[in-house]
């Protein structure tokens, strides 16, 4: 009965293939992604209702830390600027804070350590599906924002990174002020009690407790407070957002 089996297989593959091809047409149309994207706005609003902005991500114990913390995306930034910083073990590193702040400034890792710090063992969930658990120590972003003074017009905090994607596109990310002021939003310099490894974003990376991995910008070079991110990159608030991922990375 090979013929019948072949026919059945062709029929299943054909039907599924037609459906997939039809969906691909919609995915590539100008209207399809707009219609489908409506769900993402709904996700953000409904999740904010169900899980209040003050809710805390679960914090784990030392025993829960994963044996490895898989580094994803850039693992070795190749810009001369970064390579020079790395050669000197980041002793010359300064985080720049710019934009809508009263006191723009530059901060070494030691300066940051003098502001309010926090240690948290939280889970990292990649948009691809995998998870890892790590112990993060870092400066609470809210402490830094208080230190520099935020202009009331500022709505977003943008993180400009030292690594380039696709050769010459700098990685960047952004969160809104409310997320930036969440107690679990850190500028982390330690992972599992050791200085952040290069592959995980040395010397400074963002930790946002309740969003996916692509929000957790590595190799942060500067922070900019803005009222809109429309003029940064392609205007969607982040490198992956410019590639079609959602700015709201809570799901």
């Amino acid at each position: 009965m090979t013929d019948r089996r072949t026919f059945l297989r062709m029929a299943i593959m054909g039907t599924a293939g037609l459906l997939v091809a039809g969906c691909d047409k919609i995915s590539q149309s100008s209207w399809g992604p707009k219609v489908l994207g409506k769900a993402q706005g709904l996700n953000r609003r409904v999740q904010a209702l169900l899980s209040p902005s003050s809710a805390m991500a679960k914090e784990y114990t030392e025993a829960d830390i994963s044996p490895t913390f898989h580094p994803n995306g850039t693992t070795m930034p190749d810009t001369p600027e970064y390579q020079a910083l790395m050669a000197n073990n980041f002793r010359d590193y300064k985080l720049k804070v710019t934009g809508l702040v009263t006191k723009p400034g530059e901060f070494s890792i030691d300066d940051l350590k003098k502001l309010d710090n926090r240690t948290q063992i939280t889970r990292h969930d990649c948009v691809e599906g995998w998870s890892a658990i790590g112990k993060w120590q870092g400066t609470q972003l809210s402490a830094l924002l208080d230190h520099v003074g935020v202009d009331p017009k500022a709505r977003f905090v943008v993180f400009h990174c030292l690594d380039n994607m696709d050769e010459d596109t700098p990685y960047y990310e952004s969160v809104d002020i409310r997320e930036a002021r969440h107690p679990q939003t850190l500028l982390a310099f330690d992972l599992n009690d050791k200085p952040l490894p290069v592959s995980n974003g040395a010397p400074l990376r963002l930790r946002v407790g309740r969003q996916l991995g692509y929000k957790q910008a590595k190799y942060i070079g500067s922070i900019e407070l803005v009222d809109t991110f429309a003029k940064i990159g392609s205007g969607n608030g982040g490198y992956w957002e410019d590639q079609g991922y959602e700015w709201y990375a809570g799901i």
Partner: protein, 306 residues
């Protein structure tokens, strides 16, 4: 048209002319149920195909809260053999299977084999495109959830769940016979065909209340924002990766249900069953004993049985 039926004590002696088999159309499925059924078909299909696209971004399953790359429960991998050809490997625990062409390695857009978990004819979009897969998945997740809430609300309000789905004591007593009937592909034709049998009732209840609600909760358990409030549930099921694994298993359990469901539709009168779920009208044989007098018209309007 009327049919005359004589109830005879001993048919072998009197031997009346065999009565023309009379049938009647029953309004079985109400319009809301039919609409919700087909909306569900579309949303579940697209969530399944886009779900496989999302799965392909990390074609591996784990238990607990994080992944141990060396010990997946299941993974769809690609390796190179000695001559440099890509080989698709499906790993389940310690067992490995060569699944080249279907899982792990299958044909890419230009026809050459590429590494991908599920093949392009099973994923939406066809090519690897995670962000677009997520768009499809979340869009139809909302449709599935809203449709499901409407269905459960409607079915409880109209007593569909209580009357047609919840098994009665006599249903439970007949479970042995029902299993025997199913494995022999025997289906009732008369009035009995209008009642859901015990296996149907259990299947529908489990699919709606266990699979349906379970897959949504396991989906939400993967959302880091939702986990700020759902973490007790996430830890209860064994962690975020366990929730992802359960989400995947329920998705395939839905597929198994659909295959059995479609098979049962095909062998119990595909045309009649499809008409029932499209127009609402379902034809059944009239049981001879129940028709004592002339029947008026074949079409009888009554409360939908759904």
């Amino acid at each position: 048209m009327t049919t005359e039926n004589v109830i005879v004590a001993d048919a072998q002696i009197i031997a009346p002319p065999a009565p023309a088999k009379s049938k009647r159309l029953v309004y079985r499925h109400s319009l809301p149920i039919r609409l919700m059924h087909w909306i569900n078909v579309i949303s579940l299909s697209l969530m399944f195909f886009s779900g496989l696209q999302i799965f392909n971004a990390h074609p591996s399953l784990a238990w607990g809260n994080y992944n141990n790359p060396d010990k997946p429960l299941l993974s769809l991998e690609a390796r190179e053999d000695a001559s440099g050809n890509l080989v698709g490997i499906t790993r389940i625990g310690k067992h490995e299977f060569n699944t080249t062409g279907l899982l792990g390695v299958s044909k890419g857009p230009d026809g050459t084999p590429i590494a991908r978990g599920f093949p392009s004819w099973l994923t939406v979009p066809g090519p690897g495109w995670l962000s677009m897969g997520r768009q499809w998945h979340f869009f139809f997740a909302w449709i599935f959830v809203l449709n499901g809430i409407c269905y459960i609300g409607y079915s409880l309000a109209r007593k569909h769940v209580q009357r047609d789905l919840w098994p009665t004591k006599s249903d439970w007593r007949g479970i042995g016979k029902s299993i025997a009937d199913h494995v022999r592909f025997k289906h009732p034709h008369g009035e009995e065909a209008l009642r859901y049998n015990i296996l149907q009732r259990l299947a529908y209840l489990i699919v709606i209340f266990v699979f349906g609600i379970g897959i949504v909760l396991m989906g939400l358990a993967m959302s880091p924002r939702m986990d700020a409030v759902l973490s007790p549930m996430v830890e209860f099921v064994g962690g975020r990766q366990a929730a992802r694994t359960i989400h995947f298993i329920i998705a395939w359990a839905f597929v198994a249900f659909v295959l059995i469901h479609v098979f049962e539709v095909l062998i119990s009168g595909a045309f009649n069953q499809l008409r029932g779920m499209i127009t609402g009208y379902y034809k059944v044989d009239v049981d001879p004993v129940k028709v004592a007098g002339p029947e008026p018209i074949a079409v009888i309007k009554e409360a939908p049985h759904d």
